[in-house]
Symmetry: D2
Subunit: 345 residues, 4 copies
């Protein structure tokens, strides 16, 4: 019998992708979909694409008691909301998998990057960082999951093996990223209008993007040394897809592209969702899937390391990874219900 | 144990979509992938997105004897090629499902629209028109399948219930269609370059597009009266998706939008892949799926009928429908392995 | 010495296009830019692209007295606003050129299509329909100008010569149109978000789109007989460009494509902004310009007429046509400052 | 009276943009358009958008004698072709402005990056690097012009002021760039098909892209010290636009964003086509224009410098800059006929 899942924040894009992926999941069934702004509408009203799998399902307003007994509650809420609702939820549902930013960082770093104190710091230790390939041991049945953001997922996957293997130096790391517009979510802003973002590339969040905190925290944890990256996101005119292009300096002599790729193979060779290739990755290869495609280069001429990771920002960067983590805390095979192939063309 | 499938023409876009969908099909396993121009390369070389499901699979050159014993051979070949290879194939494989145009029309109409005589007319009666919702009875184990084209699928789904119920007049039918660029396939042409088709809408094939023949043949068959539609395709700047916007005149008095929608419900109410809605369909709702979304309107002011159908040109318009038909000739539930939900956003 | 122009509604897309085109106009200089929501910001803040031509120009709040003495005031305001501001403006400025819908229709038709009575009906006779190629005689110095909408401009240009020459029948006209998203303007709505409209085609405004009223009024005026068209707009994923694909029935025997094209040549042969071609038009050819590209077909097989017009919805469909009309009422050559070439690729 | 111009390579995208911009140039008139593959067709056949300005102009096959007496010949040819045709051309036309890569580098560097010896090295000294803002003194009437590539133009504009002012260190420079697909030109390749490049971001040319040679040469010239940058281009799904995002290390203490912007102001404050702003640039702001939009940041936290330049790859990155340089060698004001405002939205 399938586990019961709730999607809280079902009207947003990560919520829609959770609903889509869970529609094909053999062991997890969505029994509740909660949405603040569209409560009362059906799933099909809000996303006609999802109608065939959720005939008649109505989006509920938020009411924690209605989620009592659900096995997994996925939360995709605006920043700050998870802190507010998780205290009411932890005792009622089997597992909480939060796709928001509220429980990813220690309290001090949270305050540093978000500019406000955490309102539920006592719950932070209940959560584990939901990036299975690198933090799998923390994903135990007892833990709630804080799924990392889309940018951090790509950046950490690309850099962690190089930093932890002593190939890339921990200082001077540059993470240059490009994301599809769905990463901004479905809320209304001039900067998300088609005519504003079509046919243009724009950097944003210069120097201060909050995802920097996650990237730094995770790489520091894995490397065992403080790491401060320079992270610069860019918007590109596509709906889905995210590429992290990372630049690093060598931490050792005798580097070569082959050694970098070997480090990736050592780290990810058995991972079902990680593709290590010689060719540069294209984000298209990951769309609709939970895959990450990686490559790396060492440039003899300038002595620089390049590392690339492509993901679907709503897949491995959000809903896919959340389900992967949920599978694990539920004791299911991690790959259950998750495509590794992207939709092409 | 799964049936064995071969995809012939695996390097094209319909071939890629077959590979992607079959990667998630529980009862059909791709054991052979054939590609003329990319023979010798791996599936992952040609489509990195598909690599995770086809690790190490090499694209074969065409050799009918290598397909001996395969349960289903899906053919996605340039126009005219199926006529050449099907005679060698019919005796060797369990079922042939041809996504090309070679076996969709009677010999006379074939020659009328394609301007050249059919080279294997004796095989035409072996084939049945693979549009399950309207020609299901023909899909028997004994028959090969000619999957209809993308434009005909949408146009026929939208118009057939109205024409056969005596609501829309058989003359004066207009089919105005818009398709994503993947409908042109992967072959090289200036007209398919990104910079040529991005940010523009263009009508093409005026008066003479070959898909007209299929639309007319199928509607005439279903209505039992000769029908000649005016079909005008347009290219729009997107990769996937196809919308047929059809205009008709009433065949009876007292029409209303409700009566038209009732006719759709009567025709498609139990169909798992057909969504009949009041809101106008958007092609996005079907991307990656085998769904078709339909609506209709009657305009009291001008006395005209409008009928709309949205599909994914590579899904219900090609690979999805091919698998749906294959499921049926194999005796599997038609929905096996086929998503009805589209990928949004 | 250049005439002075004001752009009222400068922060919207038609306003931006007016500013861009007027930056290259030798005889019209923008001395005032008014914007409700961005008042106080500079033009460069709101549109960095326009900064080089408007260094330091600040967007003003609405104040009719500040426009005193301006030679031309271009208005690009939300529906209903022009009725409110024009009474204050007519005596203060040399000419009013309104890009909105408020002064395009007689009072009765206005109320029919907009659902509310006109609030300044006494001013309607002061306005003339600003489509120079077909209503040039009305564009006298004494008249204010109501520039037609983007859809009507394309539809009327395509159909008028065929209807007035007695080639197309006045009943049964179908106008199927596809527009880029900028036609929705810059106001915030979920339906204008990139991730909602990218990669999809969607019909909207079925049966009741207000532009129907303009198309019907203008064609009726030109043909001298009541005409009611069926107009169905579609959104396609591009920023600019608009294609009207029109379907008509013959009003006479012996039609041919050549006769239809001859009628276009007779109507538009000397027009600097109209391109009549045999090939189907592509909207790209008009982007950034004031051009309209047209073709037509007669289909012997089904007895139908097809007529196509492609324009830039912000060019000939809005700002370009407004300047063309302004040139005329000012006594300048109509082509002054207006490109006829589109930006390709 | 206008100078006479020839466009050699008129069927390509840079050729089309030259034709478009020159259609609005008051002092330069295109009298000859040459195209290898489309010779015999009209300009309107190949680019309907340009038809209104070039009614009846036929594309000629290459014949240097037919260009005798032309004042300026713009060459936009495939790599290697300019070396072949320039020897025949220099004595026949007033000025040669080459948009290709053949005459941008000294012979040794040419061979290093292009892997083959230069075939007309004796002519290299006749050419000057056509980036007016930084190499204006070389643009004398006696010199032929080698217009820099699109990537180098953006990268050099962004980095030169910082390097020459002693703010950015000459080593460790990283140039990360994103370009629209038109940068690949109009030649046929699978990698340029709409369905391949739409909705995806892809790095390419890793470590070895030939434009690196130009960036390095120009920065070295300007700084007076050898500079080797790491240049990594990416394709993004848009037609036009190019963003260079550059990373550098400080060459001095006490850096701040204000100091970096001051250096830009000092270098470009009077330049009509350079916009220095605090906000991050968006490529859209430059489309159709000859503008470059720049900004910079100093990151106290990581001690890194960021520098951004946005251009239209076909404008300031090709045709616009070529005309700017031609204006200068002809003695015209540099801004003649060149828009500084981009087309928005």
């Amino acid at each position: 019998m399938a586990y019961q899942a709730a999607v809280v924040g079902a009207a947003g894009y990560a919520g829609a992708e959770l609903l889509r992926l869970l529609a094909g999941h053999p062991d997890l069934q969505v029994t509740r979909a909660v949405a603040a702004t569209h409560a009362g509408a059906t799933v099909a009203d809000v996303y006609p694409a999802l109608g065939p799998a959720y005939r008649g399902m109505v989006l509920d307003a938020w009411d924690p008691s209605a989620l009592e007994g659900v096995d997994v509650a996925f939360l995709t809420l605006p920043h700050g909301e998870s802190q507010r609702v998780v205290p009411d939820l932890l005792g009622r549902v089997g597992h909480v998998v939060d796709l928001g930013a509220d429980f990813r960082l220690p309290a001090a770093q949270y305050e540093q990057w978000y500019g406000t104190p955490h309102t539920a710091p006592q719950l932070l230790e209940r959560f584990t960082f939901g990036l299975p390939e690198l933090f799998r041991d923390g994903l135990t049945p007892a833990r709630a999951v804080a799924v990392p953001g889309c940018y951090p997922t790509a950046a950490i996957l690309a850099l962690a093996p190089l930093v932890t293997a002593g190939l890339a130096a921990p200082d001077g790391l540059v993470v240059h990223a490009a994301s599809g517009i769905s990463g901004r979510g479905r809320s209304l802003s001039e900067a998300s209008l088609f005519s504003e973002v079509n046919e243009t590339v724009t950097p944003y969040g210069l120097l201060t993007h909050r995802h920097t905190g996650e990237i730094d925290w995770a790489l520091s944890e894995l490397a065992g040394t403080p790491i401060a990256t320079l992270f610069t996101p860019h918007l590109v005119p596509m709906t889905r897809g995210l590429l992290a292009s990372c630049y690093a300096r060598p931490a050792t002599d005798g580097l070569s592209t082959a050694r970098l790729l070997d480090a990736y193979q050592a780290a990810y060779g058995d991972e079902p969702f990680i593709v290590v290739a010689e060719d540069p990755p294209t984000t298209r290869a990951t769309v609709g899937s939970n895959a990450a495609h990686l490559t790396a280069r060492f440039d003899d001429r300038t002595g620089a390391i390049l590392a690339f990771a492509a993901i679907d920002n709503l897949g491995k960067g959000a809903a896919g990874q959340a389900i992967q983590a949920a599978n694990r805390v539920l004791g299911l095979p991690e790959t259950t219900g998750l495509p590794a192939v992207g939709i092409v063309p």
